[in-house]
Symmetry: C2
Subunit: 230 residues, 2 copies
DNA sequence: ACAAAAGTGTTAATCTTACACCCATGT
DNA sequence: ACATGGGTGTAAGATTAACACTTTTGT
């Protein structure tokens, strides 16, 4: 069979991080091309004989040096033929979460600069990356309510108030502290440590830890994580 | 910028239909190539300057002549480099639902034959299509519980027992008829018509209709469709 | 002593589950 | 009259939602 096809395949990663009670997105400044000096998602072309997932991991490593905590395919953007002015490019977008303690970046080959931007201070983005980001944010918001992905944005041990804040911030909602704590603890996947956090004000607070093994076990048995608020 | 990339882009569609209280999948027999005479999902290569969604619709039309009721992107398969023995091909898979009254097929150019197969009698499939199908089935099952997609598998008007059966069959579960009916009716998106179905035995049953407009309105206001069983 | 955030229980309301009999038709 | 599937209600249990005061620390 003969086949001439001029479509290019790229991957992009929407990398979310959380620090200072803010949701952040990792962007890199374009070095070349039409969008030179504009900010864009982490990403690039897939190599021949390269698995998509390997391509994403490679780009993450090359452009940011970051180690992500959670990575899943989000959506493939290929309906807007002119999303890239150079060629017909489809992009397989991935959704990544980074532990807030690992926000150290290395700017490298493809990027003049890599920087975290708070979700409500996103500059103009190259290509259709603004759209992609919007969809990723929705996915994060909905995922928070039915999978314990929030923990992938927090350090290994965290205060209950951190978790609470994370939910409030990302879902842009208020929550009842007592009911929230009861609900989370009822799943049995968050454990108290015997450490205390270094909160400067108020009563010292215990640190908690997410028990992933336990969650995996429970979720195999069909026990669901689910959080809804009034 | 220069770019040589040998990756090909295909689309595949997993088309589900429902009739005789069975869930069916639409397959086509391959005409050419390594997998000649094997069954495969509807699909093919994307054309240059063709949107992904247009490619799926074109393939559906060319290979089956079918009009689908629901279509959404499922997942992009591109981690197994050798999923196609000819080239490095990534496939953007789509998930389609067909109204059971429209199961008429036309076998055409790319397909020697197109046929519906009950989900539990799927033959060997070409490429990695068995895996793709498995993932699509999971998506259908989970989607049934949080979006009213079941109606896209039924004719415009249907008996309550049809809907009930559809849920039992696809989710492989038993349900309480009374609670199910109460739940569905409580959403206010299913209306009684003044028609009766032509059930041969037992008491005549009313036909019902799904009110999509109403669902759309309610779902904008954040009213959720959700079905869980004991 | 006061400011700041952590920690904790109870009650009413709502939703979910379990469960069984009568109804309308065809044969 | 009987077989078949359609149609319906209620009560107990579980879950959720609303709500405010005490505790521990630093200053």
């Amino acid at each position: 069979m003969e086949l001439k096809q001029e479509i290019k395949v790229a991957v992009d990663a929407i990398v979310f991080g959380y620090s200072n009670n803010k949701l952040n997105v990792l962007l890199i400044k374009q070095k070349y091309g039409t969008f030179k000096n504009q900010w864009a998602l982490v990403g690039g072309f897939v190599k021949d004989k390269e698995a998509l997932i390997d391509a994403v991991n490679r780009e993450l490593l090359e452009e940011t040096g970051i180690k992500v905590n959670y990575l899943e395919q989000l959506y493939t953007f290929g309906d807007n033929i002119n999303r890239d002015p150079r060629f017909h490019v489809i992009s397989v977008a991935y959704f990544a979460l980074v532990n807030s303690t690992k926000l150290i970046l290395k700017a490298d080959s493809d990027a003049e600069d890599a920087k975290w931007f708070p979700i409500n201070q996103i500059p103009d983005l190259a290509f259709d990356h603004k759209e992609i980001l919007a969809i990723a944010l929705k996915r994060l918001q909905s995922k928070l309510t039915y999978q314990p992905v929030g923990f992938d944005l927090l350090p290994k041990t965290f205060l209950f108030s951190d978790l609470e804040n994370l939910y409030c911030t990302i879902l842009e909602t208020e929550i009842d502290r007592r009911n929230f704590r009861k609900k989370i603890l009822s799943f049995g996947i968050v454990e108290e440590t015997d450490q205390f956090g270094n909160n400067l004000k108020g009563r010292p607070a215990k640190l908690f830890r997410f028990n992933k093994q336990k969650y995996n076990k429970l979720s195999k048995d069909g026990i669901f994580f689910e959080i809804n608020f009034a």
